[in-house]
Amino acid sequence: MKVQLKQKSILPGFGLAMGFVVLYLSLLVLIPLSATFLKASSLSWQQFWHIVSSHRAVASYRLSFGASAIAASINLIFGLIVAWVLVRYTFPGKRLLDSLVDLPFALPTAVAGIALTTIYSPNGWIGRFLEPLGIKSAYSPLGVVIALTFTGLPFVVRTVQPVLDDLDKEMEEAAASLGANRWQTISKIILPAVMPAALTGFSMAFARAVGEYGSVVFISGNMPMKTEITPLLIITKLEQYDYAGATAIAVVMLISSFALLLTINLLQAWSGGRLKRGSREDVNPEIAELGAVTN
């Protein structure tokens, strides 16, 4: 049985490393996460349902998921353009822009939050131009979308870039020599090739946005039923010592993030499969690696 579970290797240290990994993972992640479900199970089904389907909770899901979907879509469209421009064209300042794309990963969310709020507030750098047009950006759902667009910005760019980089130019040349115009080549050859990666990036940006807290709380204005995101509702309930309520909403969020994680893994398996089935016999190991890195 043991032999079947693990293939033989002459390298030492499997037991030690594996033991430490499982212990650390259990203590820090698995046991605390299951404690949430344990706590939630002290609620009856009716109580649980009453909390998670209350008007205020539903309004917060609508905002969190709706704004995340819009922000992820903005990131999908602009991410494709940015990735394309960074891979295919040369222009001054390109390398600087390329490394700046990761800023939302590196800049703490609280800093991003106060910066965006200041920019989009009625007398801010951009807010002052939107205000006369009757567009309220900060302290409105639009502000939530802006903050979530910022946090999710790198995902699509970084998943699409390596795929575009590795795309065979010969396929495009073949299409062109067979009489396809540029738009046909892009829509029939290039877009289908990058679509799995783009969708992976889209769902990563979406998943990140749904749980995001720091960059949103400052700009949203936090009005219940209007601009209250789900993570903030959990905090509000905690501050009122409503632990059961906070836990119930947290369980909803956890289940949705597990579902999203599964979706992302399936999408990645799909894009991996596509690469293997591609016209090239030698599958670049780097892509497989990048797929795993962005997992």
Partner: protein
């Protein structure tokens, strides 16, 4: 290679060039769209952090980053990062060794579990520790009876930081170690090296750039984490505030210049992180090219 294929007819060559790239105006408008988008979402926030930080002059700036509460927040942030980054580094290396060098059942499940903290909302990441160690939590009564404080105290902040930065090093190293295979280690072992010698002299030099990269990202997140830490901290000024929480308090008190002054420290950290990341990527590329050349020569 592909570029060297030329057609006899120059008109055909030009047609091929047009068919495999875009017209100049299309190209420049796409560049324009990308640059405008990135400038609005990336340059502007950075610019406003530094301009607001210095809006009231250098004296306000330095006073804000040197007042006792700010220093206490900086100290707590350094402690939290100083504990969580090394622990997650050891975990990452162990995970990379076990997963990257061996084949066993349930490998992909284990990788998914390691990635879990990335998909959990920061607020929920803090909440799970409140539900265990908080006063009403599972271990709450026992901890209270023994006068141990975890939630609304430094240990809770360290735990929450460890959770949110848990996967960084591991996810950077696992694919790297996997791609490198086991031949070099097997050779070292056959030649009589011990397990630890093999690890220090063969494996570690091969993964050092990826390791550094993971540590840099892990540290940036550890110092900047807001949501998870906010839930467990209790916001006690000068005692349980990290830098991001201190910024929040200042901002909510309408002390904008001091808030941005402290925020500019984290923005500088973010810029340093991006710079280090680019440098490490460049070094890693150089290293792998060198290795490829060497293995090419030995063939």
């Amino acid at each position: 290679m592909a570029a060297s294929i030329t057609f006899g007819n120059p008109a055909a060559t030009m047609g091929a060039a047009r068919a495999t790239t875009e017209r100049t105006w299309v190209r420049w408008s796409l560049i324009g769209i990308a640059v405008t988008f990135l400038a609005t979402f990336l340059f502007l926030p950075l610019a406003i952090v530094f301009s607001s930080a210095l809006a009231k002059g250098f004296s306000v700036y330095f006073a804000a980053v040197r007042e006792p509460d700010a220093l206490a927040a900086i100290k707590l942030t350094l402690i939290a990062a100083g504990i969580s980054v090394p622990l997650n580094l050891v975990f990452g290396v162990a995970a990379a060794w076990a997963i990257g060098k061996f084949d066993f059942v349930g490998k992909s499940l284990l990788i998914t579990l390691i990635d879990l903290p990335f998909s959990v909302s920061p607020v929920v990441s803090g909440l799970i520790y409140v539900l265990i160690f908080g006063l009403q939590g599972l271990l709450g009564p026992w901890l209270a009876a023994h006068d141990i404080k975890i939630i609304f105290a430094a240990p809770g902040i360290v735990l929450a930081t460890m959770f949110v930065t848990f996967p960084f090093v591991a996810r950077e190293l696992i694919p790297l170690v996997e791609a490198q295979g086991t031949e070099e280690e097997e050779a070292a072992l056959t030649l009589g090296a011990s397990g630890w010698q093999t690890f220090w002299r063969v494996t570690l030099p091969n993964i050092k750039w990826g390791l550094l990269y993971g540590v840099i990202l892990c540290n940036a997140r550890a110092m900047g984490e807001f949501g998870a830490v906010s839930v467990v901290s209790g916001h006690i000024r000068g005692r349980t505030n990290t830098i991001p929480l201190h910024i929040e308090i200042l901002y909510n008190e309408y002390q904008f210049a001091p808030a941005f002054a402290v925020a500019s420290l984290l923005a500088l950290l973010a810029l340093a992180t991006l710079f280090a990341k680019s440098a490490v990527e460049w070094k890693a590329r150089q290293y792998s090219e060198e290795m490829a050349k060497m293995s090419g020569e030995s063939l």
